[in-house]
């Protein structure tokens, strides 16, 4: 049951094959079994069971709220959840209990979803590995998959035991691990520079970043106001569309959400053929650091579209090489501003110094933030200094326009969807990842994903195939602004073509019959 898609689970609930409480308890028990993954910071067991009880009543009375009623979901710990601790994996907010729900959380709860818990992340969503939070790093469930372990055994150089577990990618690593390990059907992440798509690619999931302005950011603890969006992590594209249908739409509490009407519910049509489609391949994304495996998969994907009748053309996004630099400047500058609210006075951590306000603020912030956050705040403040403002911040804003225009030009040349890699390589071992510092890693790993955030476009990472080491590799589709539905439709077609294998976590699942059921049903579900 846990290996099914959201839609199947929903159908099962409606048909009475399983009750919300049973489903909830299965998920809770699996969460306990997979605790070593460190995907969850807070497991909201009582809340979830209570919600399950209410959902069950609704189903009994034939008054289910919709497709999400009774479905376990997880939420990244930088979304405010009323009554449930929200930490952003930082000492600064440890013990902080928000008095309100983020709009996206409220929307999910209004549809009857069960909140399993808050997932782990990099501190304040800064990072590309989910390794830098105070609750420790998140382990990639694929480290324990049969697919990976069998390949490892064949390698004479591999270490035995658990010491070379893999990172999930970041910063929504906890959400990705939670969905990938079947502890929930969907999870919310946030995406500022690729934080949803990166872990999705490393964990073999669909990671969707909506257009900026489509989904409300109210309640999402902000990192970069002009680029943040809530992201959706699921095991298949239809599930992501279903969740998007619930979340999208204007929110009076977030004035950066657009007021255009949104299709509700969002149902994706199945593309019969792709002959009217034009796929763009940005040539600047072919960088030397790209692993040859991913490059070959990218090329094969392009060939696949072409063989099925689509037009595949090379496009140019000339300012690509400056994109990551521009992102770095804008991100740190906005972070410097956004982190200023953490002073210990009204919420969050507060130090013991009482000499003066400034001394108290300084000590609180020193104790509350880790090196990564402090580094970004200081960098940001540097770029915002009067003497540097024009040369760095305003310059970066100008470069941002150039980058956004690149995309506009590409789409104006007749391209419907761009196809790029999501990451430079498959998931790496943690011990390998920590050899470089957070900023360097982010600059490397965000290379394909952050330009999309700067242009505010929708993008989705789709798992394509397993690497030679048995690890997932994803490819990214980028669409026009507010063309999220079309983007997902193309992604759905592609997903059906590639038939990405299900993760085999036999060692984690005690019940063999459950595994067989998962394999059968999960593989069937993708053949819609």
């Amino acid at each position: 049951m846990l290996g099914r898609t959201l839609r199947e689970a929903s159908a099962a609930l409606k048909q009475g094959q399983i009750t919300p409480t049973e489903l909830c308890q299965k998920c809770l028990s699996l969460i306990k079994k997979t605790k070593f993954l460190n995907a969850y910071i807070t497991v909201s067991e009582e809340v979830a069971l209570k919600q399950a009880e209410e959902s069950e009543k609704r189903y009994k009375n034939g008054q289910s709220l919709g497709d999400l009623d009774g479905i376990p979901i997880a939420v990244k710990d930088n979304f405010s959840t009323s009554g449930i601790e929200t930490t952003c994996a930082s000492n600064m907010l440890k013990g902080y209990v928000p008095p309100y729900n983020a709009t996206v959380v409220q929307k999910l709860l209004d549809q009857g979803a069960l909140l399993m818990g808050k997932t782990n992340l990099d501190e304040f969503a800064m990072g590309s590995g989910s390794t830098d939070g105070i609750f420790g790093p998140v382990k990639n469930p694929w480290s324990y998959s049969k697919q990976y372990r069998e390949k490892k055994k064949q390698n004479p150089h591999s270490k035995s035991g658990d010491s070379d577990w893999l990172i999930t990618g970041g910063s929504s690593g906890g959400s990705a691990a939670a969905v990938s390990a079947f502890t929930c059907y969907a999870a919310l992440g946030s995406d500022t520079g690729g934080s949803t798509r990166n872990p999705a690619a490393h964990c073999g999931l669909v990671g969707f970043k909506p257009s900026y302005g489509l989904v409300s950011r109210h309640g999402l603890i902000p990192l970069v106001n002009s680029m943040d969006v809530p992201g959706i992590l699921t095991r298949c594209v239809d599930d992501a569309a279903m969740v998007l249908g619930v979340l999208a739409g204007h929110d009076p509490k977030d004035s950066t959400t657009i007021r255009d009407p949104v299709n509700k519910p969002l149902v994706l049509s199945s593309l019969a053929d792709v002959s009217k489609l034009c796929i763009g391949i940005p040539k600047e994304y072919l960088v030397p650091e790209l692993s040859s495996e991913i490059q070959s998969l990218w090329s094969r994907a392009a060939d696949l579209f072409e063989s099925q009748g689509a037009k595949v053309i090379e496009v140019s996004l000339p300012h690509t090489s400056y994109s990551i630099v521009c992102y770095h400047v804008l991100c740190t500058s906005e972070v410097a501003s956004n982190m200023a609210r953490f002073d210990g006075l009204q919420y969050g951590h507060r130090c013991d110094i009482d000499v003066s306000t400034e001394a108290m603020y300084a000590a609180t912030r020193r104790e509350g933030f880790n090196d990564v956050v402090r580094g970004r705040i200081l960098s940001g403040n540097f770029f915002l200094l009067k003497e540097n403002y024009e040369n760095y911040f305003v310059k970066a804003q100008k470069v941002r326009r150039l980058i956004a225009n690149d995309f506009v030009n590409a789409f104006n040349s007749g391209v419907d969807v761009l196809l790029t890699p999501t990451t430079l390589s498959e998931a790496v071992p943690y011990l390998e990842f920590i050899k470089e510092d957070n900023r360097t890693r982010s600059a490397q790993d965000d290379i394909f994903t952050q330009a999309v955030n700067m242009a505010g476009l929708p993008a989705v990472s789709i798992p394509v195939a397993l690497s030679n080491q048995g690890l997932p590799i994803g490819l990214q589709f980028i669409g026009r602004a507010f063309d999220d539905q079309q983007l997902l439709t193309v992604a759905k077609w592609f997903e059906k073509q590639v038939q990405f294998p299900v993760i085999q976590l036999q060692e984690l699942m005690d019940d063999c019959s459950a595994i067989l059921e998962n394999e059968k049903i999960a593989s069937v579900s993708l053949k819609q």
Binding site: P99, Q346, S356, L378, A396, K398, R401
Partner: protein
Amino acid sequence: MSVHASPTLFMAVAVTAATAAHSDVITESRRSALRTDTLRGPRKEEMWARALWLGLRAPLGGPRGFTSKTDLQGSGRITAEVIEHLERLALVDFGSREAVARLEKAIAFADRLRALDTDGVEPMESVLEDRCLYLRSDNVVEGNCADELLQNSHRVVEEYFVAPPGNTPLPKLDEQEPFPHS
């Protein structure tokens, strides 16, 4: 992107020198910077003397903007002044010389933008710049949650958040140990 590749100032080069006398140098220079009334002349020479003393062989072709900010070519110059200024603005301390080195690297990274010609390009603040911002009408529809909000604070008296006295600047550098946490 190495620190040595970027035109370095005394401070940044000292950071990467990794000598035992390193911390003394930083302390000394920061203290001396504050003791002099003007930040020109004596301090510059003093810093130069130290640079030579450390045997640093960075290609410093002449005095590089230790003093006036207008001399700066725009890219990172992490002097003691800048450190103090940033720490004061951000109310976050560097904490270690690695942090200063990281900032130098970050600035060197950001300097790559210079190569791009952006003449005539308008800065982009938001991707939704072509749309109207929606604002709610100014009517109170929710609130009355003072109790809930006060619960999140560590120090509260009746309905007040309690702050320590303000208008007291942070202690000057020579009154405190630099990099206490390194």
